[in-house]
Symmetry: C2
Subunit: 266 residues, 2 copies
């Protein structure tokens, strides 16, 4: 029951109709007996700063999760940044500090790796193909590199974006062979979709599903629909799959810890 004492949290993005965080967090709040509510907050890119300044002025709002397309744009609006936010230049969670300032950090990548591990796939030593080098892809690339993959091949439809990210990952993690290339899954143990392809019905696949082979692990960042056309094709080819739901639950658990929500078991 929401009353005048209820604390507020939310996820800010555009669009927000498919976000799963409100269901996850509100179920956890109920389970934990917390007087708190988690909301969808729909702000267009051109109104992000105005919305952010206003939301963070509310004294009963304690935390914000940030989703597309705001993960990079929100960085200059924060008073303090955690280590992964500084590394990736993106933020997916922000909290009010005791002195009233707002601190952000990025858990998309670590959430993705946690989702892999929760499904029995440790990325250590794997050869990885990742398609998509936007904000989510950036976070995932650094996180799988930190997790000790053998190599990381990056592909992106935008010219230069994969090469830029490969260079940044190689500088931060010299032990990982990070390169830009084509979205060809041949010979990779782990294939990752970090593009938005699959969110909308009829989206083209992010890579050619006919090239997938049994024994590969195929992971998608899209939580809703949980079974994207890529995940369906991978299953039909005998691949192991990890859906965006696993990544999302991993992210939510890490975001909850950052937000000081004790006892979470997303």
């Amino acid at each position: 029951v929401i009353t005048g004492t209820t604390r507020l949290y939310g996820i800010i993005g555009d669009p927000v109709h498919a976000v799963r965080s409100p269901a996850l967090f509100n179920a956890a709040f109920a389970r934990l007996g917390l007087d708190a509510v988690f909301l969808p907050l729909h702000a267009a890119a051109e109104e992000l700063e105005r919305a952010w300044r206003g939301l963070t002025a509310l004294r009963n709002l304690d935390g914000l999760v940030v989703t597309m397309p705001h993960k990079a744009a929100v960085v200059p609006l924060l008073d303090a940044l955690g280590p992964t936010a500084r590394l990736t230049g993106t933020v997916n969670t922000a909290r009010r500090l005791p002195d009233g300032r707002w601190e952000g950090d990025m858990f998309d990548g670590e959430g993705f790796v946690a989702g892999l591990r929760a499904n029995g796939h440790d990325p250590r030593g794997m050869r990885v193909l990742q398609v998509g080098c936007g904000s989510a892809g950036r976070a995932i690339a650094f996180a799988v590199a930190r997790a000790g993959v053998a190599s990381l091949d990056l592909a992106d439809a935008a010219p230069g974006r994969a090469a830029e990210l490969a260079g940044a990952v190689a500088r931060a993690f010299p032990g990982v062979r990070a390169r830009a290339g084509a979205p060809l899954p041949d010979g990779h143990g782990l294939v990752v979709n970090a593009t938005p392809m699959g969110l909308a019905p009829g989206d083209p696949p992010p890579l050619d599903p006919a090239r997938l082979r049994a024994g590969q692990v195929v992971a998608d960042v899209i939580p809703n629909p949980e079974v994207t056309s890529l995940i369906a094709a991978a299953r039909a080819s005998g691949c192991a799959t990890v859906t965006g739901r696993a990544m999302h639950e991993g992210q939510a658990r890490l975001a909850a810890a950052f937000l000081g929500i004790a006892g979470w078991e997303g």
Copy 2:
């Protein structure tokens, strides 16, 4: 259940811990099967503009109820004002118009009169003493004048405030004898507390309860605690009483209609 498609409403004020609107509106949303949620929004006076600009930038937020101390301060932040907002210079409800602009109007006074009538007391022809001429008092004074009271005696601890309001009411409603004076209930059929006295435990009473007499109607604007020390003293003296809860339910019904929430039966 809150999901990405849930529409947002809220009450903005300082403090908000005792507001009853979230309980009233969320119960109505559940009864009506609406995918909407009503929130407490805690904004200090010095951050009202920043909070307001940010909240009204959210595309899934459709309406705001305004409470102390923002009812006058919010007026210049609105794009359009309804007739009672223009008359009183205060706003208690604002809605997003189809073109994206925000329109505000004031229903505190009409809600108070509705609460009186719901309890069987029509103010028409009554001699009224009202203590408190702030934003709520201003709205109530105009509304009871519009409802056709015979006379309206206004008292306020702030020098000149009662006289200013009495003059404004007399100009708008020449048939009502509106005057400033002392908070003495003697000879009045209806006695109204429109001060915040009674919100906090140990507040002094807004008028001398020993002067109340059986047969008078005593109404209080404070919804929580519902039985203020004034209401308790009035009952002990044999007065009829109308609590802030009745006013608040009347306000909520009128605010809901302004917000386009069909089927409300607060």
